[in-house]
Symmetry: C2
DNA sequence: CTTTTAAAAAGTGCATGCACTTTTATGGTT
DNA sequence: AACCATAAAAGTGCATGCACTTTTTAAAAG
């Protein structure tokens, strides 16, 4: 837990934003888990800054839905029920399905080719520890590219938010078995995008997310 | 603009939350418009409180997407482009369509009857100034009830957020002509819910929102 | 009269203080 | 050991101070 604040002098970025980023990483990586208490004062001391920027960062995380706080109480990392996880996936199915639909007629061939190359590389590579890192990175990139290609900024932002909101579960939930399936599903989406077929793209993406949904919700029996 | 802070002693609610609420109302009512500057210090003085709770309230509004702020600059009320408005409606079509689908098999008959009564009342009443108030209130209630009845808390929260994000436009965009149409569309949704027909409910709700979309985006040529 | 520029005013970001609330530690009682 | 009361420690909400940045003002120059 020795992630530290990068304190450049003359920095254009707010301290509160750096702290927000740092804490988000701690939550997404599992370094901070559901139920953990995050005291503003203690954290300020730990980071060697005053309470103000920590206060702001925590408030952001509360708005993001990662923390909860009652008045006069210390914020707590949220616990997701299996119903929550299910619901988040349901929404992702809608939003990312729509994004794929819109992207089918808009996505440029270069990005498409690049994504396909990434998928092929992962497909042929041995599935060791480093591979997992690559997969996570590629998967994020895949979904983000399609969200962007939808042409709707709002849609993209919503998709990013909903993906973040359950990414903390990735670590424990993914099984090696599921990976090759996921890759196959990605390829199906890429095929549909290549065909410039909106409906096919929506369906393929929705299938993909539904598969993850089943996996995650299973592993997650409250 | 003389809305004041209700300062009860021994209050269980945070000052920052009250201020957030107050500012939200000012934005949604049109009292504060796109491009307006909202200075933390000035506002604190105006409200007779310190900068801290104002600071927190403004940060919330920034996260909500109503304000924008660059470092060291005063926050500004966001300007929505017509593309933004269009995109927000596109998302509402997805989310509220889904909510209606889910609500069709879950909504209790009592709420349903109550909504129908509200619609009928508005249908038969003379369309004067007071009527407009009633309409706005009823419309909100209608959409919220269905979002709730979806059974998905996340879906409900998302729907509320997206509805808020363009409600500031209501004042100038609604024309008396459109009201009776809207009411008819609401009735169609209620019929589908009564029939316990998910697909019909989704379609009816999506039609309704698409009609608003056309109206709003037209009135809103950047 | 418009443009430039420099000083004054006001603003934000972060640090800190204080009152009041919650949490933790402590010691007696059963 | 488990339970309660209570004092000490730590925490949050809001106020305020200060350094530095942006905005406004007003005077000087063209």
């Amino acid at each position: 837990m020795s992630t530290t604040l990068q304190i450049d002098e003359n920095d254009q970025v707010r301290l509160s934003d750096k702290i927000h980023q740092l804490l988000l990483e701690r939550i997404l990586s599992g370094a901070m888990q559901a139920g953990d208490i995050v005291a503003e004062k203690k954290l300020a001391l730990e980071l060697g800054v005053s309470r103000s920027p920590v206060h702001d960062a925590l408030r952001d995380l509360i708005k993001d839905g990662f923390l909860q706080q009652a008045k006069n109480r210390r914020p707590v990392v949220c616990r997701l029920s299996s119903a929550d996880v299910f619901d988040i996936f349901e929404i992702r199915i809608l939003l990312e399905g729509e994004a794929s639909y819109k992207a089918a007629t808009r996505m440029d061939r270069v990005t498409l080719a690049e994504l396909r190359k990434g998928a092929n590389f992962l497909f042929e590579t041995e599935k060791d520890q480093a591979w997992l890192e690559h997969w996570a990175q590629y998967d994020d990139h895949f979904h983000l590219c399609i969200a962007k290609a939808s042409g709707s900024k709002r849609l993209m932002q919503d998709i990013i938010r909903h993906r973040l909101s359950h990414r903390a579960l990735n670590i424990q939930a993914e099984s090696p078995y599921s990976f090759s399936n996921s890759l196959q599903e990605h390829m199906a989406v890429l095929d549909a995008l290549d065909n410039r077929d909106p409906s096919q793209a929506r369906t393929a993406m929705q299938n993909h997310i539904r598969e993850s949904q089943a996996l995650f919700v299973n592993k997650f029996s409250d």
